[in-house]
């Protein structure tokens, strides 16, 4: 279980980006965080992953206070984070990265299985370098695969839909559902996509650094869909914000 108590983060310039957030995320749940751009969602999950330190508040994982644990320690305790903007590495291949993430050498079939979960063919990608030669959607999907490779207690995905095509998106939604059904770990997904929101167990809406509302999907989603500014896309990729 992940628990945030009065978590806040203020920039060195004094801007309050995350304000006094209390949040409890149960084990094995798929929780989707949504909210307008700039509302503090990425900042919030970076605080959870230990990439940023909260200005105040405490963070607990399975009852243990991890507020003072650094990124490496939190990773070892079972937190995995898929960056919103994947990082590029010259000289490191997709296989290298997946193996680092998994913590072991990986036979081709496993690489194939992992990349398949994000709609990529291993034959084509296994030896590709994680450099500028990959498209935005490709690096995004590889980034997601590195988190899947970790089989973590808590996996965080930051706007996994960004830049990926509709077919891969469908595959990704299925993958999230599979993980949800297996109940192996907790999934925390930042997303604006109706299709991801509609498979959530719970939805948390963040606005201006605070939790605006949170609750079971069936309670929150209808409220979001009723909002007048909701965009609609003919392919069924509906953006809530």
């Amino acid at each position: 279980m992940l628990r945030l108590e009065h978590v806040a983060w203020t920039t060195p310039d004094g801007d309050q980006i995350v304000r006094d957030i209390d949040l409890t995320i149960g084990n094995g749940k798929l929780v989707v965080i949504t909210g307008p751009n700039g509302s503090g969602k990425t900042s919030l999950v970076k605080l959870v992953a230990g990439i940023m330190e909260p200005t105040s508040g405490r963070i607990y994982l399975d009852g243990e206070d991890i507020t003072d644990a650094d990124v490496t320690e939190r990773a070892k305790k079972g937190i995995a984070y898929a960056f919103q903007q994947p990082v590029k590495f010259k000289g490191m291949t997709v296989k290298d990265m997946l193996e680092l993430a998994a913590g072991e050498d990986m036979p081709f079939v496993n690489v194939c299985g992992l990349l398949g979960k994000v709609g990529l063919c291993a034959e084509e990608y296994i030896d590709r370098e994680l450099s500028g030669s990959l498209s935005g959607g490709e690096s995004k999907r590889i980034e997601i695969a590195t988190v899947l490779a970790r089989n973590a207690k808590l996996s965080i995905f930051d706007e996994p839909e960004a830049g990926i095509d509709l077919w891969s998106f469908t595959r990704l939604v299925e993958t999230f559902q599979e993980l949800q059904n297996e109940q192996k770990g907790t999934l925390l997904v930042i997303s604006h996509q109706e299709r991801i929101l509609s498979i959530a167990d719970e939805i948390v809406v963040i606005a201006d650094g605070v939790v605006e509302k949170a609750g079971p999907r069936d309670e929150i989603l209808p409220q979001l869909l009723a909002q007048p500014h909701m965009a609609c896309c003919p392919q069924g990729k509906r953006e809530i914000w």
């Binding site: 990773a75 995995a80 960056f83 990082v87 010259k90 000289g91 490191m92 680092l100 590195t146 970790r150």
Partner: protein
């Protein structure tokens, strides 16, 4: 050959108790062993130290190894090796070099290599450099490589300076005829007070000739590196050079690439970047459970791979 040569050879060549194909093992300026094959003749030069290697036209898939080792201080080895690669031959040339000193004497190897590629010849040339030993003497390797490429020939050069070389000045020049292709991949790591300089001079003479130079280096400690390249397009051709350096501690890197086009259809590109390891790369690897130090090592070894 002595024990040190054996150890060095395991690092810089494909030696595993044995070398395949044609070879010449040079130890402290002398010849420790040599073998020619039916298609590849290795002979000593008459007028100066060094070898003449003749590779018959049409030779396919064979390897020539010419490891050179300096195993003690006080040796300053200078050698001239010429390779004549016949038409349509397709071979691998391995020229590893190791320098070792256990005392205060300097150990230096200076290999001057010339490659003459006949029409359609294809060569993969690999060169690994390493310095070992606890001596205070300076270990230096100063290779000079001159490449002459006839029509449709291809040369791929892989050069790696692994560690422990105090000083190296590497000069590589190439002249390309029509449709000839040159690919150079260089990897350099310096640390402590090391100094490494690379000078490339590539002349794209022939129509549709092409060159691609990629240099990746890591400079740590108080080491210094200089990258100079001059690529000249004298005809319709393509040239690309790239110099990427990771800098750590108090190291210093100079990258001075130059391009010269003497023909309206010469397409020449250069990219250069120098900087420390990106913080977000370290962060990403830490989110996978690596410590900061482990992350740095991974990034550097990947980069130099």
């Amino acid at each position: 050959m002595n024990k040190i040569t054996e150890t060095l050879m395991r690092i810089v060549s494909e030696y595993d108790g044995d070398l395949k194909g044609a070879y010449n093992i040079r130890e402290d300026g002398g010849c420790a062993a040599r073998q020619s094959t039916e298609n590849i003749k290795i002979e000593s030069k008459e007028d100066k130290p060094g070898l003449e290697v003749h590779i018959k036209a049409g030779t396919k898939g064979e390897t020539v190894s010419i490891p050179a080792c300096v195993t003690r201080g006080g040796v300053d080895d200078l050698v001239y090796n010429d390779f004549f690669v016949g038409e349509d031959a397709d071979v691998t040339i391995v020229a590893g070099c190791g320098v070792h000193t256990d005392d205060g004497g300097d150990a230096r190897h200076n290999g001057i290599h010339r490659f003459f590629l006949a029409k359609g010849a294809k060569v993969l040339y690999t060169e690994k450099h390493v310095g070992t030993g606890e001596g205070t003497g300076k270990k230096s390797i100063d290779p000079v490589t001159e490449i002459f490429m006839e029509e449709d020939s291809v040369l791929e050069m892989d050069t790696v300076q692994i560690r422990g070389v105090d000083r190296s000045v590497r000069k590589t020049s190439a002249t390309l005829a029509a449709r000839a292709k040159l690919v150079v991949r260089e990897r350099i790591m310096t640390d402590g007070e090391d100094f490494a300089q690379t000078d490339f001079d590539v002349v794209l003479n022939g129509e549709d000739s092409g060159a691609d130079l990629v240099s990746r280096s890591v400079a740590r400690g108080k080491s210094r590196q200089v990258f100079n390249s001059w690529m000249r397009g004298m005809n319709r051709c393509t040239g690309h050079s790239e110099c990427d350096a990771i800098l750590a501690n108090d190291a210093n890197v100079v990258a001075a690439p130059a391009l010269e086009a003497d023909h309206v259809d010469a397409e020449l590109i250069h990219e250069a970047a120098i900087g420390k390891i990106a913080g977000e790369q370290i962060l990403k690897l830490r989110t996978l459970g690596l410590t900061e130090e482990e992350a740095e090592e991974k990034i550097i070894s990947g980069f130099l791979k």
